[in-house]
């Protein structure tokens, strides 16, 4: 990046992650000094606001440069802050290899930062209203909540900005930590504490693979790295990645091994099958957390990472197939699970997993730009949906079970309106954000194989169906309220305002990824053509220029039809918000299987948790009896000797004297015999 075209100096962009952290630290100070929590949100709100402003500036800055010189900016630029960990190569410090704290700016970073910061800002603003009781007083732990939010935004920005794999890992783990802290925010509730622990540990399972992936990368690339290059920097890794394609290890190419290991991390973080179990449970946290962490930002980290590592994944067809398969299985499984739930947030959580699976299918089909585009649009409407659900929950006094209420459109009109937008976007209703991005992935799936495409299309239909099942159960039908809701349930203005912004995003975000004009015969509704600004932008990143299939206009109409069909079916079955679930009766055992989430949790418990704990108990007993037993046996020799000799120590004075005399005599005899 040349100074002439830059709006702000790179050093300033490098401070992006720090502002929320400062805010959080300030709140921490607030807590330590026991200041009243009433205004504790301000430092974090301001911090995130500054970051968001910087991110938007960065986006336009980058876009201006790419527009100015479309060919020269193939990659990004690096801003190095300091050398963090020494990798201790021999000789002097000058030739050392480092793990640096450095930030990497390119198109992908720009897109990610744009929605991460802006959606975060909306969520933080929403939380100001949400984390209060009906009288507007802050909840217990209000300031703690905002401190954690600040740290979370910091971690997410670090993750996205990281210029090397270890810094990425840092952000990766820190968002895991924040999700732990925030899911466990109501730590007095055993379910919340358990969910927090589960989230962290399941994430760590993925991180285990991710860490091994980093280690293998270092292992494979070390021979090629020149002095002065830091071996785990993106720039260096992608520069030498080509070597991984040919070298073999254990029957596969090195690229495959590295990709699969890294993908483990993505599975954990993005809650893909088989590590999806933590995300639905994570809904125990406060709703803004669900929106922020488990929908809009944190879970997208997996997609981001795979997209970032396109130069490695792209070298291994096998790895891409695995990504595709995991995505497909996950999309179908979780979509079906979502059909048999009543908890609003859980349904949304499953839909998140399902949508993330869509993105992985996109990645697996070799169109990372489409996947990232879907990440981008998904963030807006999913945050919107979660926050809307939160608004319902807030009004209903903490009740979120769709069987307990219905007809809420009468009491929550604004929420009803924004939820319309959100649900339509998620369902893939034409012209809304989700429609454009989802269609691109379905298109790529058809390009890959017709069967894949059909499965994806069917899943999209299911998505529309269960989304509106939830929506109608909630907002339509006769007005029913739970006792907890009180006399006059109402929505809070502080909370609704950010929802409108997000609703705007849910409508408009898609238009960053489509272009207008062109021949009417090649355009949807004679106006829109897939691929737009955001794709061009993303091509200026490590993603490069993926090949997209042409045509497929029919698919846009088809998928619009499928979405509409799903919505219509939902209206037919649930439009009146029946108390008895028609699906449960119609599908029977299958429905119960879905409702029980395919018993995955139970299987894991029986397969991993119990055996490992039993092993632990076995080891502990081994320690107490086995190892100590062996040592007891070893010590038995001196103990036996001591026991045998203790008869000499009977306390009789003369016995001692006699043994002395005998000893003396023995020495004399020996001595005289010797000489």
């Amino acid at each position: 990046m040349t100074a002439a075209t830059s709006i702000l100096p790179a050093g300033l962009y490098a401070t992006l992650p720090l502002w929320p952290l400062f805010g959080a630290l300030l709140v921490g100070l607030w807590i330590a000094l026991r200041v009243k929590p009433e205004r504790a949100h301000w430092p974090v709100v301001l911090g995130v606001l500054v970051s968001a402003a910087l991110a938007v500036t960065l986006f336009f800055d980058l876009q201006r440069q790419y527009a100015a010189a479309p060919e020269t900016h193939a990659g990004g630029f690096v801003y190095s802050v300091y050398n963090w960990i020494s990798l201790g190569q021999p000789a002097s410090l000058e030739h050392n290899q480092w793990l640096a704290v450095n930030f990497y700016f390119d198109g992908l970073t720009g897109v990610m930062l744009l929605f991460v910061t802006v959606v975060s800002l909306m969520v933080v603003l929403y939380a100001v209203g949400y984390m209060r009781d009906h009288h507007g007083h802050p909840e217990r732990g209000y300031e703690r909540f905002f401190a954690f939010l600040g740290v979370f935004v910091f971690s997410m920005i670090t993750l996205v900005l990281a210029g090397n794999f270890v810094l990425l890992y840092l952000g990766w783990e820190l968002v895991g930590l924040c999700s732990y802290l925030l899911i466990g925010f109501y730590y007095g509730k055993p379910a919340a504490a358990a969910a927090a622990k589960k989230a962290f540990i399941v994430n760590r399972i993925g991180d285990f693979g991710f860490a091994l992936g980093i280690f293998s990368l270092y292992w494979f690339l070390r021979p090629y790295v020149q002095p002065g290059e830091n071996p785990l920097d993106y720039a260096v890794v992608f520069k030498y990645a080509q070597h991984l394609a040919t070298a073999q290890i254990g029957g596969m190419s090195q690229a495959t091994l590295v990709s699969l290991l890294l993908f483990c991390g993505a599975i954990g973080k993005s809650a893909q099958f088989p590590l999806h179990v933590w995300l639905p449970d994570a809904m125990e946290g406060p709703t803004p957390v669900s929106a922020l962490i488990h929908a809009a930002t944190m879970v997208t980290a997996g997609v981001y990472m795979v997209a970032r590592c396109t130069p490695i994944f792209g070298l291994s067809p096998l790895a891409l197939d695995v990504v595709l398969a995991v995505g497909m299985v996950g999309a179908v499984l979780t979509a079906t699970m979502a059909m048999a739930q009543y908890d609003l947030k859980r349904i949304l959580a499953y839909s998140t997993i399902s949508q993330l699976a869509f993105m992985f299918v996109g990645l697996g089909c070799g169109v990372p730009d489409s996947a990232v585009f879907h990440v981008f649009t998904h963030a807006w409407f999913k945050a919107l949906l979660f926050l809307g659900a939160g608004s319902v929950m807030h009004a209903m006094g903490g009740i979120i079970d769709a069987r307990k209420f219905s007809g809420l459109r009468h009491v929550l009109p604004q929420t009803y309106a924004v939820m319309w937008v959100g649900c339509l976007a998620l369902a893939g209703f034409p012209l809304l954000a989700g429609f454009w991005s989802k269609d691109e992935i379905v298109h790529a799936a058809f390009e890959r194989h017709a069967a894949v495409g059909i499965i994806m299309l069917a899943t999209a239909g299911l998505t529309a169906y269960y989304t509106f099942r939830m929506f109608f159960l909630c907002f339509h039908g006769p007005l029913r309220l739970p006792a907890e809701a009180g006399e006059h349930p109402h929505e809070s203005t502080t909370m609704i305002r950010p929802l409108w912004v997000l609703a705007g995003g849910a409508v408009l975000a898609g238009y960053l990824g489509v272009s207008f004009g062109g021949p009417a015969s090649e355009s949807f509704l004679a106006i829109f053509r897939p691929h737009g600004l955001i794709h061009d932008f993303l091509h200026h990143s490590t993603i490069g220029h993926p090949e997209h299939g042409h045509g497929g206009l029919w698919l846009l109409y088809l998928s619009a039809g499928v979405a509409l069909a799903g919505i219509a079916l939902a209206w037919l079955r649930y439009g009146a918000a029946p108390v008895a679930d028609p699906d449960a009766r119609a599908l029977g055992g299958l429905w119960r299987l879905w409702h029980a989430k395919y018993f995955v949790d139970e299987v894991y418990d029986a397969l991993f948790v119990r055996p490992l704990r039993a092993l632990g108990r076995l080891f502990f007993n081994t320690d107490n009896y086995g190892v100590d037993g062996v040592i007891w046996l070893v010590t038995a020799v001196p103990r036996g000797l001591g026991f045998a000799l203790h008869y000499l120590q009977r306390g009789a004075l003369q016995a001692y004297a006699l043994s002395m005399v005998i000893g003396l005599v023995a020495i004399l005899v020996l001595w005289s015999w010797w000489t």
Binding site: N83, W84, I85, S86, L87, G88, Q89, P90, S92, L93, N96, V166, Y169, L170, W172, E173, L174, L177, Y180, G184, Y187, G188, K189, P190, A192, A193, A194, A196, K197, F200, I201, R204, I205, D207, F208, A211, L212, I214, F215, S216, Y218, W219, R222, L612, R613, L615, G616, R617, F619, F620, D623, N624, V627, D628, I631, T635
Partner: protein, 542 residues
């Protein structure tokens, strides 16, 4: 001045111990204050020495010593009449009082200097009987710990190494929990049994050194013994010597399967004892391996490196799984030490630069985080008189400050990036994975430790801090002048460690910049020499 500061570190506590011991009975209340004052002096002396090292290394290279002092202590043999210098012994043996700090010992000295005043301070309310003896033993222990790390003479090292046993034996045996006597005996016998074998190894090595160098005076100089000709000290000899060193150091570390004394000793010891045991004394073992086994018998090290790596990996997994089924949170932390120290050994025996520096960093970081965890658990125990995970719960609501510190140190312990534990854990695993000696399976299996670590630590955190409030009847017991949540004194004890946990996570180079060259020249060069020699022999044989 450096010499003065270093000897102040070593001997002031001993002098103070005698003083404290002999205080008249009516002045008993003075004992803790006096001890703390000495602790502070020690801390300042340590802090004063710390920045001297980079300066000294700038002047005199990687092997520079800070505060070096060399004097004959015991010299037996005939003297050369023509010269008056003490070194002109013509035969016999000499034991020198030779101390000095280099980049390998400096971090550990600094760690000790930090933990000593904190552990003295944390005993203020916990120890209410026989205070004078208690603080005297604690101070005597301090002398031993500083002496070990400062010693530049193998026999002097051994003297201090053994000396540390005695105070800790009494600290556990007198002020410990219900099973203290058994624990103290077990601790003493385990460690002592091993170290006599080490002593035999030291003597043999010194005798052989005199033989190899054609020198009639037997001395135990560290540098000289680390520079013996590897061609003359045969591989078989080195292999056996490695085993002799192993006996003492592996029990001290403690390496699986010789670890069974540790959980018991930790559980029964008073808080300060646990802190110093975990924070410093276990490092005597790892430090011993690094200082003696690796440079003195490099060929032996190479012979046994895979076995050591295997034991380390087994220890990581075994310790972690044992943690998971504990009900006593202190025992859990103790078992986590077994797992963590195994990480340290894994890094060391990867025999690559990043592994060695990671290993030393691990020593420091483990001292900070586990020491701090023991402190927190001790504070909990003072209030509730139990450490049973099933009897306690939801304490985050009762004691938010304690919860904050506990969670912070737990996160440091499980290697959260950004905190100190991560840097060393990452370095160690990366090294094991990329090591030519160990290889990727060791690294991959060792990496399960980062997963299991999270499992057991969060299990404990969840049980202790989260969920509905659960307290045994009649607690918290605030009779010792405590508050429900931490008092200012306790916050002041934990804060320095918390700050260091963050600082070392962000800037590990505070330690590694001086450490790396020293490890390279003093340890790795020898190992590389040995492996080159072995390769030459293997190449020349057929």
């Amino acid at each position: 001045m450096d010499v003065l500061a270093l000897n102040l570190l070593i001997f002031l506590p001993l002098v103070a111990a005698v003083l404290v011991w002999t205080l008249p009975e009516r002045r008993e209340s003075l004992a803790p204050k006096l001890a703390l004052a000495v602790g502070c002096v020690v801390l300042f002396a340590g802090a004063w020495l710390w920045p001297r090292l980079p300066a000294a290394m700038g002047d005199r290279g990687a092997g520079a010593l800070v505060g070096e002092l060399k004097a004959d202590w015991i010299a037996v043999g005939n003297r050369d009449g023509t010269s008056e210098a003490a070194t002109t012994l013509t035969n016999g043996f000499v034991l020198r009082f030779h101390v000095g700090l280099d980049a390998i010992s400096m971090p550990l000295i600094a760690l000790t200097a930090l933990l000593v005043p904190l552990s003295i301070w944390c005993s203020f309310t916990a120890i209410r009987k026989r205070q004078r003896e208690y603080y005297a033993w604690l101070l005597a222990l301090t002398t031993g710990m500083f002496g070990v790390f400062a010693a530049r003479d193998l026999l002097l090292f051994y003297v201090f190494f053994e000396f540390t046993l005695v105070p800790l034996y009494f600290l556990i045996g007198v002020w410990g929990g219900p099973e203290r006597r058994y624990a103290a005996n077990k601790f003493f016998l385990f460690t002592f049994t091993g170290s006599v074998l080490t002593f035999a190894g030291i003597l043999y090595l010194a005798l052989r050194a005199a033989q190899i160098d054609h020198c009639s005076v037997i001395d135990f100089d560290l540098l000289r013994l680390s520079a013996l000709s590897l061609k003359q000290l045969t591989t078989a000899e080195q292999s056996l010597l490695f085993l002799a060193f192993f006996a003492g150091f592996a029990i001290k570390v403690p390496l699986f399967p010789l670890h069974t004394w540790l959980p018991l000793a930790h559980t029964e010891a008073p808080t300060a004892g646990s802190v110093l045991l975990a924070g410093v004394l276990l490092k005597l073992g790892t430090y011993g391996f690094l200082r003696f086994s690796l440079p003195m018998v490099p060929a032996g090290t190479l012979e046994w490196a895979r076995v050591m790596g295997g034991l380390a990996v087994a220890g990581i997994i075994y310790g972690a799984l044992c943690c998971w089924v504990q009900r006593d949170v202190k025992k859990l932390v103790a078992y986590s030490s077994v797992s963590h120290l195994a990480f340290c050994m894994l890094g060391m025996f990867s025999l690559v630069p990043v592994g060695l520096s990671g290993s030393v960093l691990y020593m420091v970081n483990h001292g900070l985080s586990t020491g701090a965890l023991f402190l927190v658990v001790g504070m909990l125990y003072e209030r509730y008189h139990t450490r049973d995970l099933d009897a306690l719960g939801g304490l985050a609501r009762q004691m938010p400050i304690l919860a904050f510190f506990f969670v912070l140190f737990v996160l440091s312990s499980i290697g959260l990036p950004g905190l100190n534990g991560f840097v060393s854990e990452f370095a160690v695993l990366l090294a094991a994975f990329n090591s030519e000696v160990l290889g990727r399976w060791y690294g991959a299996l060792g990496a399960t430790g980062i997963l299991l670590g999270a499992v057991y630590m969060l299990y404990a955190t969840g049980k202790l801090l989260f969920g509905p409030v659960k307290e045994p009847a009649g607690t918290p017991d605030l009779s010792a002048g405590l508050k429900r949540d931490l008092t200012l004194r306790e916050i002041a004890i934990l804060t320095p460690i918390a700050i260091l946990v963050v600082v070392l996570g962000i800037a590990p180079r505070l330690v590694t910049d001086t450490l790396d060259p020293a490890l390279q020249t003093q340890v790795l060069a020898r190992v590389q020499e040995a492996s080159a020699l072995a390769a030459a022999v293997a190449g020349g044989a057929p």
